[in-house]
Symmetry: none
Subunit: 205 residues, 4 copies
């Protein structure tokens, strides 16, 4: 029912995978050559043009698709948790997992593509942002979150903290000298979120 489930043509799938492989290996998207991608995908160069109008379109579709795949994974993972803060915690865990798999050089590129670009080009509503809205709305209905803040601000704050965390981790991995460990920063960020947004009746839980 979701476009992610739709079977992709095997060639298209191979192309999407090739783009992601190269990305995770630290290749900048703008520097990916069509020949590299098709070679990696194990298909002929011309074949890419059977499925896409241009290199540009191929890249955009590949990244779009990957976002949907990740959003779907995130949704599934979040289903494993009932409590709101557990879900938030789980989000941080997933970020850790993704960033660990990725070459240092790819981290910035990845954040650009999956954090920044969706933020700026809202028209193509970011799939991951939708997840955030979803759990925020749910938590509000469940009374876990304070009523006074609009969802929009809560989501903005949450994604801001996630972004802060990810960028801090990336900088540390990149050799930056830091006073705090990523773990400490994570505790600070989660505590801060809890203090600001969690409904008081948390205590009776």
């Amino acid at each position: 029912m979701n476009s992610v489930e739709e079977k992709l043509s095997p060639k298209v799938e191979a192309l999407y995978e090739a783009v992601m492989e190269l990305l995770l290996e630290g290749k900048e998207v703008r520097k990916m050559k069509v020949s590299e991608i098709t070679e990696r995908a194990g298909i002929g160069k011309g074949t890419a043009y059977e499925y896409f109008e241009s290199r540009e379109e191929l890249l955009i579709r590949a990244l779009e698709y990957q976002q949907k795949v990740w959003a779907k994974n995130i949704q599934e993972q979040l289903l494993c948790h009932n409590e709101f803060m557990e879900k938030v915690n789980c989000l941080f865990d997933m970020m850790d997992n993704i960033m660990e798999k990725v070459k240092k050089e790819a981290q910035e590129e990845l954040c650009n593509i999956f954090f920044l670009s969706p933020i700026f080009r809202r028209e193509k509503e970011c799939e991951v942002t939708k997840c955030l809205y979803h759990i925020v709305e749910e938590a509000k209905r469940g009374g876990a979150l304070k009523e006074e803040f609009p969802d929009e601000y809560i989501v903005l704050a949450l994604s801001g903290k996630i972004f802060s965390y990810v960028s801090f981790c990336a900088a540390v991995r990149d050799g930056k000298q830091s006073v705090c460990t990523p773990g400490q920063i994570r505790v600070y960020l989660l505590d801060s979120f809890r203090m600001e947004f969690l409904a008081e009746r948390k205590e009776d839980k």
Copy 2:
């Protein structure tokens, strides 16, 4: 005394300005041609190569320089304010000013270059981040900020909020439907920062 004050060769200055002009007009840095830059600068193509090894170096130097110029402006502006939260407020104002001058298409690029890249490549410590550290340390010494948080986390939280604000504004300008106005978001973000980090004895002031 600062390298920003050093008189640049007029040709170099023209080149730097040309890069910034193009950037503010929404041209992606990676797509800027040497010919475009030199044409805009009003000099011959070869002249760029009298001062820079390559297109790459020209672009890097131009962006580096611009960051220093901006950091210097920020420092000067911040001197006009005594109280910490006034300085923070001033930072938000300056972000508004910069982003207003910029074409829609340039906003993302600008954030990439002046927010994200410095975050990821810490070795070349971001000039703007240094300003943040500076005012945080000063505020701590003055007793305006809670002692319990390390400077590193405070700076991270502050830059996270600034980034959230900027990206929200950009999205709104870009036509995104939103419940809140940028002004409201700004209030939320500043309040949140105040609640989390400001020392209690604020009241007796």
Copy 3:
């Protein structure tokens, strides 16, 4: 069985031919542009780079190939003669033929490439020099040449005389005032060679 026989890709062949055409028309190899060569070959500029890493490689391969072709022709021609001095005579004839086909401006270039360079870069043993060694060894075995001289010196002397002849002819064609005709010079050179190297029992043959 020889690499010259191997069918070249038609594009490569066209490129090699184009280089030779330009060379024979008097164009200096170092001044040949890729665009000129491909245009002459009737193919696209990019195509040259499908087959060669660089302009440099294209030129080197083209000249290498041409040398092999000529060496092969020379070998074949030499098979038509049994007696050693007839073969030497034939070599002079072939030089005449080649140089006649060539524009005045190309003669020096041609000698540089096919005489001098191989002399200096012996590692890539000159194909034509190999022919000389071959007929000298054969003649020695057949008793036509004196035993007292090493093959190396005989070949050196022979190629020296050929070179003297060719350069003399070139100078005359170029308008140099000369006392002797090329024909007379040729006689002198061949007589000299005969006197120095031919075995005495020549007469009883």
Copy 4:
């Protein structure tokens, strides 16, 4: 009285010297940049154009001049010897001396310029060739050489032998595997010349 004696402008002299230095260091003449030459000469780039129309002219004049200088040296050296074969021997010695001073990479270039080019462009009669004519004529007048050969052929043969010797030495220095030593080749070449051209009455001398 000779143009070599005429005092050159110090700038021109510096330029000529710079060209020779670069040449002897193995720099190909066609790859010498005006900036390299003027830098080496210790003068401004524009200054070269005060004295020469173009880079081309500068290079041609520099090489011409150098040939004259060498021809003059050769003439002077030859004056130290009375007997013809001593002079020839001396020529070989001088070639050895020159080639020894020169970087391996420069040897081919040098031979091209000072042997081949003069051969092909006779109009600008080679200074060194003039020396050869001079000693041949002198030796003939003195009865040291056979009358039967025209001077032209004798000079051609002599220069051919010198060229053979030089190229052989260069190849050996360049690592070529050889049966003979340069010394042996030299003996063969000189003996050959002696046998072919020296008048019989040598013995009674």
